[in-house]
């Protein structure tokens, strides 16, 4: 397969997919799915000509598969995602499935979202009514198996003042392709802690879009641990629709071998007095490559916005790479926005200090790497997640 340059999409890639709905799905879903598939098929997958795909060239990834042209049935084949309550609350599920992600019009790079819509047979829904505070986190396992195309759709809606923590756990074996969408709608004063543990198989392709709408005073605390997949991309967009809403995107990348991990975030401030922060710590070893594209958009009406972005990367080998592109787009005048990015190696002075006290070079390096990601780990509100992340980090270091 050859991909001509300078195209924003790769129409040829549409041939890799076939619209094949199951017989037993609701007619409206079949209709919506077909329409979405047609939209997708008209353009194909995004190319790196699209700003948000600048550092993630899916064409090169697909070349790996091109010797063995796979055709993916655009159908969910994974029983783990068949847990929804779609029947009981079909009307609003339908509404949420139909709802376009907030930035669809603006960026026009929603081919993957359409592909996801075309493929959903089962929608996983978590719907928490007003004022309900769920104490224990809900853990959702998204398994992957060799040869599968996994277009899961997770919808989380919190009524006013409701509180919930959700852990998305991505794991699997073999080569599979995840095209996951999580759609989140938070009512006034609601709070969601959303943890993603991305530990997909080393051969997997992991694509996820997370789209969040926040009403006034709602808070979204997102965290992602990216450790798995050969090619991973998480694009998360939060639209702060009501005053005093808060969004935090935190993340840790642990990358090795030839892994590629792209974190593309946007906080879109459309109401006054909202806050958003983006904090990513990446540890990149071997020939791996991390990408951070963070954006804060501030609408004219969004006065008193406080927006913050920071990406710090630690490169552990010569071949490791980190690309960062922080961006501010501001139309209000009374705002406080800052962004920063650092990329570096372990400092030699602390290393020497630790070794002079008897720590082996490896122990010293591990301690310093733990310290580097520690600031993000410390911010984790859920103890079980904190323990999990700490254990995963220890295992990653000892590999």
């Amino acid at each position: 397969m050859r991909f001509p340059k300078k195209k924003r999409y790769l129409p040829e890639t549409a041939d890799m997919f076939r619209y094949a709905p199951r017989d037993d799905i609701a007619p409206w879903l079949a209709t919506a799915g077909k329409a979405a598939f047609d939209r997708f098929a008209a353009v194909g997958l995004p190319s790196s000509r699209l700003e948000r795909w600048k550092f993630s060239n899916i064409a090169t990834i697909l070349k790996k598969y091109s010797a063995d042209p796979l055709v993916y049935d655009a159908v969910s084949s994974d029983p783990h995602v068949r847990q929804g309550q779609a029947d009981a609350q079909e009307a609003w599920v339908r509404e949420l499935v139909d709802a376009l992600p907030p930035n669809h019009e603006k960026y026009g790079d929603m081919a993957l979202w359409d592909l996801n819509t075309a493929s959903i047979q089962d929608v996983m829904v978590v719907d928490i009514p007003e004022d309900m505070i769920v104490k224990d986190p809900i853990r959702l396992d998204f398994a992957g198996k060799d040869g599968a195309f996994l277009p899961a759709r997770l919808i989380i809606r919190l009524g006013a003042r409701a509180q919930l923590a959700v852990i998305e756990h991505h794991e699997g074996q073999g080569a599979y392709w995840r095209n996951h969408v999580t759609r989140i709608v938070l009512g006034e004063g609601a709070r969601l802690d959303h943890y993603r543990i991305q530990n997909d198989s080393p051969a997997a392709l992991h694509l996820q879009m997370t789209a969040i709408d926040l009403a006034a005073r709602a808070a979204y605390h997102g965290f992602t641990l990216t450790e798995g997949a050969s090619f991973a991309r998480h694009q998360a967009e939060a639209v702060l629709q009501g005053a005093q809403a808060h969004v935090a995107f935190n993340g840790i990348n642990l990358l090795k071998d030839r892994q590629h991990s792209d974190t593309t975030l946007e906080a879109e401030h459309r109401a006054p007095s909202c806050t958003s922060s983006q904090l990513l710590r990446s540890v990149v070893d071997d020939q791996a490559r991390g990408v951070f594209q963070g954006k804060v958009y501030v609408d004219r009406v969004a006065q008193k916005t406080d927006g913050y972005q920071l990406s710090n990367a630690l490169l552990l080998s010569e071949g490791a790479e980190m690309d960062t592109k922080p961006e501010l787009e501001i139309y209000a005048d009374d705002v406080k926005c800052s962004h920063g990015a650092t990329t570096g190696q372990l400092d030699s002075e602390p290393l020497f200090y630790l070794r002079s006290r008897g720590l082996s070079e490896q122990e010293a390096r591990h301690l310093l790497i733990e310290a580097f990601v520690g600031e993000v780990v410390d911010q984790l509100a859920d103890e079980s997640v904190k323990t999990l992340v700490t254990e995963r980090l220890a295992r990653w270091l000892k590999r």
Partner: protein, 250 residues
């Protein structure tokens, strides 16, 4: 016994130590005094194994072994300890975690039993109390936000925990208030024994009033230019280094 012979050391292509000879005896406290920039810290870094310093000639034998061949952690295991002139701040690394890892690394390499969390805490608290180190130090990141004096006490705490056989104290007195100086000196004096060697680098007689040295050396322009008894320190305090730097220049 530590024997340093004809030591030449460069950093970034600049020669700092220019044929330094020095023999340190077990059980003794040696003091080194010398002008700013003469190479005192360079010597201490080289002894501890800092890789930025290149040894271009000479040797250092430590209890019969070639010290210069060893990694910093091997030296630590064999009992070499450097109290840094400028202790390094390590954000995110908790003091207790660091110190326990260090103590156990060294104990492991010395074939001693490792300390569990409880035993470690007990020992650390005991030493901290003796050295007047604040209890909350253990919970803080290593040296971060600590005052100059607190950092120096922290170095001495680490020394007390690691029980070295050869301790180099690089201007541990600078930054300490008078009370702290006494406490720290007392800490050092308690560690004095017939097997342990101390190399105390200082600019001031005051420290040597509390830690009585057996032998005093003058380091100037990259060499040991004079060795004497404790009275040499007093002489320097009175007359300065002009005589030595002058001799060298002549």
């Amino acid at each position: 016994m530590i024997r340093i012979e004809n030591l030449h050391v460069e950093i970034d292509g600049k020669e700092i130590l220019k044929g330094l000879d020095l023999t340190l005896e077990p059980g003794k406290v040696h003091a080194i005094m010398g002008p700013n920039g003469s190479g005192k810290s360079t010597l201490s870094y080289v002894l501890a194994g800092h890789e930025s310093y290149t040894v271009t000639a000479g040797s250092v034998s430590y209890e019969g072994k070639n010290l210069l061949d060893m990694e910093p952690e091997e030296r630590a295991a064999l009992g070499v300890f450097l109290a840094f002139q400028y202790p390094v701040e390590i954000p995110g690394v908790q003091m207790s975690n660091f110190l326990r890892t260090a103590v156990n690394a060294v104990r492991r390499l010395r074939d001693e039993q490792e300390l569990d969390a409880l035993a470690f805490l007990k020992l650390a608290r005991e030493k901290m109390k003796a050295l007047g180190v604040q209890e909350d130090m253990l919970k803080r990141p290593v040296n971060v936000g600590a005052s100059g004096g607190e950092k120096k006490r922290n170095e001495v705490l680490q020394m007390a925990m690691l029980e070295p056989r050869f301790a180099v104290l690089d201007e541990t007195d600078s930054g300490l208030d008078i009370d702290a100086l006494k406490i720290v000196a007392e800490g050092v004096n308690q560690l004095r024994n017939p097997e342990r060697t101390f190399l105390v680098i200082t600019h001031y007689q005051r420290l040597l009033d509390y830690i009585r040295p057996d032998i005093v050396h003058v380091l100037a322009q990259g060499r040991i230019v004079k060795t004497g008894g404790p009275e040499l320190a007093q002489q320097l305090e009175a007359e300065g280094y002009a005589a030595f730097t002058g001799e060298q220049a002549a």
